[in-house]
């Protein structure tokens, strides 16, 4: 039996799914096939009934999605956190500051800031932060670089421009790993409440298509939230650094 899932690139790129899928097969006899795309595209694939289950991280959008009847059974499974990274020289002097101070400092100093600009979970959060700090989205500012690309590409662009960006920790660890632990950008702001990144599993609403494997989707959802898997998620690490924090409810 095959369960099809659409997920965001972060879960795939970090290798989490390669770590979990064989275990899922062993436990349930279900083969997990996933396509890793942007959050928006993942949701759209679900809307079109091309996948049975979603693993995504954009809580506000997800809630709306469920409300609109596209998905059911949204369950939180884990989170990681966002961090602000930048060059070690830190021209905007944000190291150790709060997110709010950091954003304001970057904006007032006009230090290069790379935004994903792709309506991804990360981007949605970033826009929300600008909003909250009373800035609105900087649009045509010279220092504000809207990449429209994935997280790693955006980090690379920030590095080339010697600027800052907002990233999820998992991708950053992967990035560090690519540079053998000596990356051009380093963590400058972390640990702020505002920087939580919640991942949820959503089953595609089975009333919308007969072929949907809602049963398998629920099995996956339950399996992900089982103690054993939650523990596995907590143990998953890269370069000795844990990537995700399980928080199934």
């Amino acid at each position: 039996e095959v369960l099809r899932m659409a997920t965001t690139t972060s879960t795939d790129n970090t290798g989490l799914l390669d770590y979990l899928a064989p275990e899922f097969l062993k436990d349930t006899g279900i083969e997990l096939q996933w396509v890793s795309v942007g959050t928006g595209k993942a949701l759209e694939l679900g809307k079109n009934l091309d996948v049975d289950v979603l693993l995504v991280h954009a809580p506000e959008v997800e809630k709306q999605y469920v409300q609109d009847g596209f998905g059911v059974n949204r369950r939180q499974v884990m989170y990681n956190d966002f961090i602000i990274i930048g060059p070690p020289s830190d021209p905007a002097k944000i190291k150790g500051k709060t997110v709010k101070e950091a954003f304001i400092s970057i904006a007032t100093k006009g230090a290069p800031f790379a935004s994903r600009g792709d309506k991804s979970g990360t981007h949605v959060l970033e826009l929300d932060l600008w909003e909250r700090f009373g800035y609105g989205q900087p649009e045509k500012e010279n220092w504000y670089i809207q990449t429209g690309q994935g997280m790693l590409d955006t980090i690379n662009i920030a590095a080339e421009k010697v600027g800052y960006t907002l990233t999820d920790r998992g991708t950053f660890i992967k990035y560090e790993d690519n540079y053998k632990g000596n990356p051009p950008l380093v963590i400058l702001v972390e640990g702020d409440e505002a920087l939580f990144n919640q991942y949820s599993v959503i089953a595609v609403n089975p009333v919308r298509g007969d072929h949907l494997r809602y049963d398998l989707a629920l099995k996956f959802s339950d399996w992900m939230r089982s103690d054993k898997v939650q523990k596995m998620i907590g143990e998953f690490s890269l370069l000795g650094k844990p990537l995700f924090v399980p928080n199934a409810k």
Binding site: Q33, W34, D50, G150
Partner: protein
């Protein structure tokens, strides 16, 4: 820069160490691209000949459309095919999404305009005297087409190779329709996209080298065949 040397090293490692994943992607790539190009040539060469040879109302419009479709981004073809074969699309019942057959259909539409346009232009360039010679020898329309294309075989082979290049190097359709599902629909190009997305540039380059090696072998085979045909 170091990506380059790393890439070359990685390419050798991949090929020599026999990484199963990569061989699976290579095999998938070969399977789907061979199928796609055969489909494309079977339909494209006759269409291209008709477009280049005969005069009929709407000929110029057809030609313009074919020329234009050469410039369609692969991801747009992916999207369009997706619109049809997604579960919520008209052909959703066929279950083509996330299958290699689905990818082949998309690649067929990618390769088709290339073969049609280049074959049509080769046919247009054919000397009138070749056409008349074949006609005076009693060639039927079908024989005329086959023999004209044989006379212009260099151009037809070039058309085929250009289309094959487009098919084997594309990523939009393979990604959108195939879904880059490991062990199933992952091709070399989607694997490259994945590695690049992960920031593993050396691996991306290594896979690129692998892909080019395949293209090189295919080209080599074609030019041996062509040389044999010429003599």
């Amino acid at each position: 820069m170091h990506y380059l040397s790393d890439g070359f090293k990685a390419a050798f490692t991949i090929l020599l160490s026999g990484q199963e994943e990569t061989f699976n992607a290579i095999f998938t790539t070969l399977k789907v691209s061979t199928f796609s190009i055969l489909l494309t040539l079977a339909a494209g060469i006759p269409l291209g000949f008709i477009l280049g040879y005969y005069s009929f109302p709407g000929k110029h419009a057809c030609r313009a459309i074919s020329d234009t479709l050469m410039a369609i981004p692969t991801v747009v073809v992916g999207l369009l095919i997706y619109a049809f074969i997604s579960r919520s699309g008209p052909f959703g019942g066929l279950g083509l999404l996330f299958t290699l057959r689905g990818v082949a259909i998309g690649q067929f539409f990618l390769g088709l305009p290339v073969v049609v346009s280049l074959t049509a232009s080769a046919t247009e360039q054919m000397e009138d005297s070749t056409r008349l010679t074949l006609m005076t020898l009693g060639a039927s329309p079908g024989q005329l087409a086959a023999s004209s294309l044989w006379e212009g075989r260099y151009a037809v082979v070039a058309a085929a190779m250009t289309a094959y290049s487009r098919i084997i190097s594309e990523v939009g359709v393979s990604m959108m329709i195939g879904g880059n599902i490991k062990w199933r629909t992952r091709t070399i190009t989607t694997a490259i996209a994945l590695e690049t997305g992960k920031g593993q540039f050396a691996e991306g380059i290594a896979l690129g080298i692998v892909l080019l090696s395949i293209a090189f072998i295919v080209n080599g085979a074609v030019s041996v065949a062509r040389k044999r045909a010429a003599s």
